[in-house]
Subunit: 473 residues, 2 copies
């Protein structure tokens, strides 16, 4: 009985080229996270449903993949890494606070599949739990910058604001606190929907393209115009924005203290050289999740804004206490690995390597099999990543074709005659490719002898090490 | 409403110390896999149930975690990485055969939880698909050895046999092919249950400790005694075992060809220096899974045999064709990462590092916060993994206690007076610990000034780099 080798919607495989590009990106980001002294944590993919859904908004709850074990417990696949982190901090008394951890893991959300959106995706989170200090928030913003620098993402903007500022806005606009979560959720759509639709959703609502009604929050137009005034505050530097904001909010109770906290982060960033050209105070940032309580963060690549924010995060001082105990102040950010990779790929900044192998040992003559094996293992023991033909015995041409398709830089060729003379032919595939596509000049042709050279077997390791260390042309 | 921060049975968290040890082990094994030119593959955790269960034995089928998406499709969490690999090879026409891939991923089996057995565990697989050559099997055995060497697991035995030899055994003992899968499944329990119980299960069955009946296969005693003869064949070298076996099976049809194939692997291994002291031909190896068709592999650590096989694998030439198309010869092995880690931990061979941080910058004076931040970032930019205090403002003693508990090697201390003089105190925590536990001599005491030295701020990076590069005492 034949089974169709299919995948459920929104799921995908990463073939070696994509998996290698991802590995490379992850390695660079991990080095940054560890540079800040953060340590890894791993949690299971499956959590109790009440733990997951209690922390999720309505939309998130519906998108949880349900899981059933033999005991028929109510379980689900995690949809983020912040909820499991909060559970972990509550669960283990031996955890030393501040708990500075990173976690690289898959998460699952059964959203409506869209081009480029998947139902399993990878998050790479960094958080400081038990960290009330503004230094902790400053660090998260700096980590985001350093990570984007490390992956050479090109120009970017890290935007931040604070839920505390939005709380001041509510008072400023005379909006009751009961509407806070809804207002923030709507403001978070500003980038996606634009000001007009957001204004409609804040007031009477509207019909979307499909004719479905979008419920309005029923704010008065005077309230919305206060919000509009607020959103129109911009400036070339964080300092300018803060100054204008301070003036606008001068009569709002508590504004001095709250703005000072944001000012403190901004000034720490100045001290460390993270200036307004890359970390800006953007009052349009709200973040959709309900659990944020202080600063909120987002990052976009300026050359690939259509991919949305690649980092998102903020401070969430109340999330851990859902599991009992006192509030534990926490702050952090999440890298959307798939989104960043897609953006980098779009920008042509992703490695196109197709295999780890650097050398391919072809096998032409069954009688020489021991020799081929010895050569392959000699190279491996010298740290040269080597593949030996394990396919069906094939003509040399077929084997060269494989090495060419996988872009393995060097192929070794040895027939009975060469073996008897203690020689091996090293074929440089790049040169062959250059030749056949006609871009190599006559001189290169002659010098490289079609990219082949016969060298003594005894000098093989040394020769290949030298060739592989050459900087790429 | 308080939610209990619990986990479903058989699931666990890996706190930083365990997660770091695992990362280290994985890095070493990955380097070996890549040294052989294998490349990474990633597949989703969730697969269609028919794809999973069609390949699973009865026991494995029952242990699949069921998953439900909004479309209410029949899905499950993967229970191994071989089935997804087979699906991938069938699905993508662009995959170049031989497909040499490794995959590091979680798998899930809802077995009855036991001490040290978990329902989510990590496998690290390596396979050559489209690889009929005995060189492919030889490589897998060599990879297993190299990986165990790389993680410094101490002495080990890699055992191999072949389903083809077991097929010969069936003919030799006059057992019908319809019983093959059952006989192999029972023989696989030899290590766990011992010869007597296996003999009973091959014949009339027995009652286990709980009184539950174990069904027997109904073999005749003459047949079982042939099996016993077979199992008693041992030898100091693979060659000796093969020789005795050849004699015993001389009248069995096809034995010459099948034993020659095994002989070929053995002789390749000799060529490469993998001798019988670590790769042995063990006729007791059967492997439980139904899909093996040729050589089968297992590896055990001689100093920790109670942890069972840490590697297992074999050749499975028919698995891919379940998804249509011609048979695709394949061979590979799976590392049980959790089991190997548990064994290494038992042997005291696992890193006990508690954090990635090498330096802790303490904060004593709020007025100096900018200075502390600048120092931390100066160190980070020099590649020194640095944590700065982001906890509640605390006395220095509390901060030192944290650095001590996390075993961060160096703490920096700077008060207003030192800052004014351009100096920073570097405290070596190891010395403090040695002193307080009374194992340091008087001389160490004096020389280290309790492990503290005051150095010019300008020389900080250089000093710490030098200290961190010192070989551990």
């Amino acid at each position: 009985m034949k089974i169709e080798p299919r995948l459920s919607r929104g799921l995908r495989d990463l073939l070696p080229q994509a998996a290698m590009a991802r590995r490379q990106l992850i390695g660079k980001v991990r080095a940054v996270y560890e540079n800040y002294g953060f340590s890894p944590l791993e949690t299971p993919a499956v959590e109790y449903l009440d733990i997951l859904s209690g922390s999720a908004g309505e939309e998130a709850q519906q998108s949880i993949f349900r899981v059933v074990n033999p005991e028929e417990e109510a379980l689900g696949l995690r949809f983020d890494l912040t909820v499991p982190l909060s559970r972990v901090v509550s669960r283990y008394a031996q955890i030393e606070l501040p708990f500075r951890r990173y976690q690289l893991a898959q998460v699952w959300r059964a959203d409506k599949p869209q081009p480029g959106r998947f139902r399993q995706f990878t998050q790479f989170d960094i958080d400081s739990v038990g960290a009330p200090s503004e230094i902790a928030d400053t660090e998260i913003l700096a980590v985001i910058c350093d990570a984007l620098d490390a992956v050479e993402a090109g120009p970017y903007k890290v935007k931040f604001s604070s839920r505390k500022i939005l709380d001041l806005l509510l008072r400023y606009a005379g909006i009751g606190e009961d509407l806070a979560a809804d207002v923030f959720r709507v403001l978070d759509k500003l980038d996606k929907l634009g000001l007009e639709k957001v204004k409609k959703e804040l007031t009477a609502g509207y019909e979307d393209e499909s004719g479905a009604p979008v419920r309005g929050l029923g704010l008065a137009s005077a309230q919305v115009s206060k919000i509009e005034d607020f959103l129109s505050i911009t400036g070339d530097t964080r300092g300018e924005v803060l100054k204008t904001l301070g003036g606008e909010f001068r009569d709002v109770a508590g504004s001095g203290e709250q703005l000072a906290a944001v000012e403190s982060i901004s000034s720490h960033l100045d001290t460390l050289g993270y200036r307004s050209d890359r970390v800006m105070l953007d009052l349009g940032i709200a973040r959709g999740l309900a659990y944020y309580t202080g600063p909120v963060f987002e990052a976009v690549l300026l050359d690939a804004p259509q991919f949305g924010s690649v980092f998102g995060g903020g401070r969430y001082d109340d999330l851990v206490s859902r599991f009992g105990g006192p509030p534990v102040p926490a702050t952090g950010a999440s890298l959307g690995v798939d989104r960043l990779l897609a953006a980098l790929e779009h920008l042509g900044k992703v490695s196109q390597r197709k295999t780890t192998a650097q050398v391919f040992v072809s096998t032409m003559d069954r009688a020489l099999m021991s020799e081929y094996l010895q050569i392959a293992f000699e190279l491996r023991r010298a740290g040269i990543r080597t593949e030996i033909n394990v396919g069906r015995p094939k003509k040399l041409g077929k084997q060269l074709q494989r090495a060419d398709r996988l872009e393995i830089p060097y192929v070794l060729i040895m027939g009975a005659d060469e073996a008897a003379r203690g020689m091996v032919t090293v074929k440089e595939m790049e040169v062959g490719r250059a030749r056949s596509s006609g871009i190599a000049g006559h001189e290169q042709w002659k010098a490289a002898r079609f990219g082949q050279q016969e060298i003594p077997r005894a000098a093989l390791v040394e020769t290949l090490q030298r060739l592989l260390e050459r900087p790429a042309a």
